[in-house]
Point group: C2
Chain length 211, copies 2
DNA sequence: GTCTATAATCAGATAGAC
DNA sequence: GTCTATCTGATTATAGAC
């Protein structure tokens, strides 16, 4: 395996585990068993390395996700459960792309939203707008009565639910094992969260306007 | 104001904004306009300072929260909306305790769950178990059909929704202003999230058992 | 209690030999 | 491309004068 990929793999698992701020280049190069200077040689800086780790996943995921959401949009009247379920297969396909791919990617996404003061949010929304646009269209088709403003809030809440859940999915899987004797995978966590977010997004519109 | 409190105030807002890892003692003492050595004199270490910042809020919040949840439990058949609404007044009371208290505390909570690999989660669950216990009892009373396992998942999802939303509440309030011309407060964000989480927790039990 | 000065360590990044 | 060695600056923490 190339040095570049060894660095990417080590960085990915360490970033997912301890966050971007919490991981040093020295930890990465030591786990990757490459020289410290290699990071700056291949990527230029730590920030560029973070982008490269995220891009590797997004380039794999975004076409699958866009196509799955487009399929949902072509339906007569999709349900919210169907819309959110469209994420399952593209996300799980990351496990074929890389071991623990789904889990790592979702944890990275969570890190990116809370570490580094939103630079990753900017990166994703500007570099991969197609995914977000298709998703909004699908939700609108499933729940046309939802106002643009309510939609904005509820999609943000959903992002929070998913991203936070996935950042701590390892701990959750441990607890499920010790408290309920269930041997769960990341796919079970995903399947568990879908009814929750679908119900949240599908909550009735409030009758009185806010404020 | 005492040096100790100046440090606590500065640490609080910087931690909320940039996370625990992302904030140095130098930034804190410089914003507090005290000497760098004062942190270690008064608190011993950065980790103890983090605990002190959180304790200041938890000691203010937890009795109010426990009492509000106990009141809900005394009702005949509380709704989930009522259960979650019990959080509103205790949380907003933090704004009288300190300027931006509600927002800062909830952001800190979010940071604590993702930074520092769960040490704050341990801190809260071991130091303030009464709040969590009362909350679970209230939810059980509002939705008795919910199994312990489903409850575990849904409460975790809820924690994620709230904590993530609040970590980025400043950005959300800005977007609501620019996109929808709404001048929102943190209290509006809280009121907005309640129907969402109540619907999520109240989603029907899945018919087929998982796995 | 507060200060200066500094120790000890770790960070990201780079120069230059090979 | 890879290595050693090092630079520069920031970090937490402490010793000791006042």
């Amino acid at each position: 395996m190339s040095t570049k990929n060894k660095i990417l793999d080590a960085a990915e698992s360490l970033f997912a585990d301890k966050g971007f701020n919490g991981t040093s280049l020295r930890e990465i190069t030591s786990q990757a068993e490459v020289n410290l200077a290699a990071v700056n040689y291949h990527f230029g800086s730590k920030k560029e390395l973070i982008k490269a780790v995220m891009s590797r996943y997004m380039n794999e995921l975004s076409p699958r996700l866009e196509s799955a959401l487009t399929q949902i949009c072509e339906k007569e009247s999709p349900s919210l459960i169907e819309v959110f379920s469209a994420f399952i297969d593209p996300l799980l396909s990351l496990n074929e792309f890389k071991v623990n791919g789904t889990s790592n990617f979702l944890q990275l996404l969570g890190r990116g939203y809370t570490d580094s003061q939103g630079f990753l949010r900017w990166f994703l929304t500007t570099q991969y707008p197609g995914v977000i646009d298709n998703f909004i269209i699908a939700v609108q088709k499933a729940y046309p009565e939802l106002s643009a403003e309510e939609m904005f809030w509820r999609l943000h809440f959903t992002m929070g639910t998913v991203v936070f859940t996935m950042s701590s999915s390892d701990a959750l899987i441990d607890i499920a094992m010790s408290d309920f004797e269930r041997e769960l995978q990341i796919s079970d966590v995903i399947r568990n969260v879908i009814p929750y977010v679908a119900a949240g997004v599908g909550a009735p519109m409030p009758v009185a306007p806010k404020s």
